[in-house]
């Protein structure tokens, strides 16, 4: 279970404190419920995911994580460009305490990511799709109760997205996902519930379809 209580967040800019990105966001994500974050660009989706993932602290309010939460996948975070995919994978295995079965883990990451020879090339030569394949492979190699994806699926091709979705359906009894995505089909494929971020506040919907409708209704009509 993840409890977000009255969370406010703003960033420090070069000219003093910036505008509030999140203003009084509260919700509870029950165990084993996959949630899609919906909102326009700059609505605070990535910020909220970083806060839930524990990388950043809220300016006010509190976040409670009563489960194992993955790091947020997406946009090459957590990968060092000068090192190869394999070296990065080894690092992640080590910091998660898998020193003994490292060979096994690396193998499972390698087969999931399907990068071929590129697995031994530096990350900086990767395309964004290849990065997200690796990131998905990395986080699926470890047991988490909640996986966080920040647009990690959007750059992958159709085959990869299908694979990721099947992998998640196999986990569905034990794990869930919190994801930000713009693609409606992706959200429907992975998530049951939805959170609509609008003007710094968050609204919970038990059905992701309702959240999408609310988001669309808020868009200016022409």
């Amino acid at each position: 279970m993840i409890r977000v209580e009255d969370v406010y967040k703003r960033y420090q800019t070069d000219h003093g404190p910036g505008k509030w990105v999140l203003q009084g966001v509260s919700f509870v994500i029950p165990p084993k419920v996959s949630v899609g974050l919906i909102g326009g660009n700059g609505a605070g989706k990535s910020t909220l995911l970083r806060l839930i993932g524990g990388i950043d602290q809220p300016s006010r309010g509190r976040i409670e994580r009563r489960c194992r939460v993955s790091w947020p996948m997406g946009f090459g975070g957590g990968l060092q460009g000068s090192l190869t995919g394999r070296q990065n994978a080894k690092f992640v295995c080590r910091i998660h305490g898998h020193e003994e079965d490292i060979a096994e883990k690396i193998h499972s990451i390698e087969t999931f990511a399907e990068l071929g020879d590129a697995f031994d090339e530096p990350i900086k030569t990767y395309s964004s799709g290849m990065r997200s394949r690796l990131q998905f492979g990395l986080s699926l190699a470890f047991e988490f109760d909640v996986y966080i994806s920040d647009e990690a699926t959007s750059t992958g091709d159709a085959a990869f997205r299908k694979k990721a979705s099947t992998a998640f359906k196999q986990l569905i009894d034990s794990a869930s996902i919190i994801m930000a995505a713009h693609s409606e089909s992706t959200l429907k494929e992975f998530c049951t519930a939805g959170i609509w971020l609008h003007k710094g506040t968050a609204q919970w919907f038990d059905n992701v379809q309702d959240a999408l409708s609310a988001y669309k209704a808020s868009l200016p009509k022409r």
């Binding site: 960033y11 420090q12 993932g53 524990g54 990388i55 950043d56 602290q57 809220p58 006010r60 309010g61 509190r62 976040i63 409670e64 994580r65 009563r66 489960c67 194992r68 939460v69 790091w71 947020p72 090459g76 975070g77 957590g78 990968l79 060092q80 460009g81 000068s82 090192l83 070296q87 080894k90 690092f91 992640v92 080590r94 910091i95 998660h96 305490g97 020193e99």
Partner: protein, 267 residues
């Protein structure tokens, strides 16, 4: 205060920290050795060329001995002792900005990257010193320390000072980027005033006392005193002073890291 950790990892805090340090250490070592073309060779060549250049200069001005100690030993240990401080503090300075991508993983803290870099640099300087001593032996100059423990005490003190200074500057540079330039200006003359390439013992009294406020000078001179029992180090040599300064710097650095951890990660 915001309470963040409600889920307790069964691995335990120290176990996690050790795993992170080990992983970071291996990763830093790989990048340090294979980053550029033949980076491992430059790691060795850089100090060797420096030392050889200085030895040639001293030979040219016909200085065979400094303060009753063989000139080669005086230079090699002086330079390596000082690089114990300068190398580790320099690498630590940029540890955080070089590893920002890794703070995506909650268990990796900014302070871990600094500690690991200092450890790696200290190890490298020790290895290079041993190679230089071995090299001198091959050329027929015996510079094996007479009191190795005293040598190590000096080296360790300088390393600790480098770590402390690195911890402080790593935070300062990330919080106030301009501070990097100011700190560079302060550290640039340290090489000259620490008695690395000229003996502080030969400086006349009022000025010598001023230079002895620099804790690094005490470390460099202690290492030399450990190499040769006949070495005339400057008066009032005080290794404890170096350790006091170093421990204070480490404490201040760790405190700064603890205070600004969230901001360092958030960038």
């Amino acid at each position: 205060m915001t309470k963040h950790y409600s889920y307790q990892n069964p691995r335990g805090h120290w176990a996690i920290a050790f795993m992170v340090w080990k992983a970071l250490f291996l990763r830093e070592a790989v990048t340090r050795i294979s980053r550029k073309r033949a980076a491992w060779a430059w790691l060795l060549f850089d100090p060797v060329i420096h030392v050889v250049f200085m030895i040639v200069m001293f030979t040219a001005i016909r200085m065979r001995e400094v303060g009753g100690m063989d000139m080669q030993a005086w230079l090699i240990f002086g330079l390596m002792a000082f690089s114990m401080f300068s190398q580790s503090s320099n690498q630590c300075k940029n540890a955080i900005s070089a590893n920002t991508a890794l703070f995506t993983y909650r268990q990796v803290k900014p302070v871990d990257t600094v500690l690991v870099r200092a450890a790696l640099e200290g190890l490298l300087v020790i290895v290079i010193t041993l190679i230089l001593v071995g090299g001198s032996l091959l050329f027929g100059t015996d510079i094996i320390p007479e009191d190795p423990l005293r040598c190590l005490a000096g080296f360790f003190g300088l390393w600790l000072m480098g770590l402390g200074y690195g911890l402080i500057t790593s935070v300062a540079i990330n919080m106030i980027p301009e501070s990097g330039k100011v700190l560079d200006m302060i550290t640039a003359p340290l090489y000259m005033v620490s008695g690395v390439i000229f003996p502080l013992g030969q400086i006349p009294p009022p000025y010598q006392d001023w230079l002895l406020y620099n804790p690094l000078a005490h470390g460099v001179e202690t290492v030399r005193a450990g190499v040769s029992g006949f070495y005339h180090h400057f008066p009032n040599l005080d290794l404890a002073y170096l350790y006091q300064c170093a421990l204070f710097a480490v404490f201040l650095g760790l405190a700064l890291h603890r205070r600004f951890e969230a901001k360092l990660i958030a960038q």
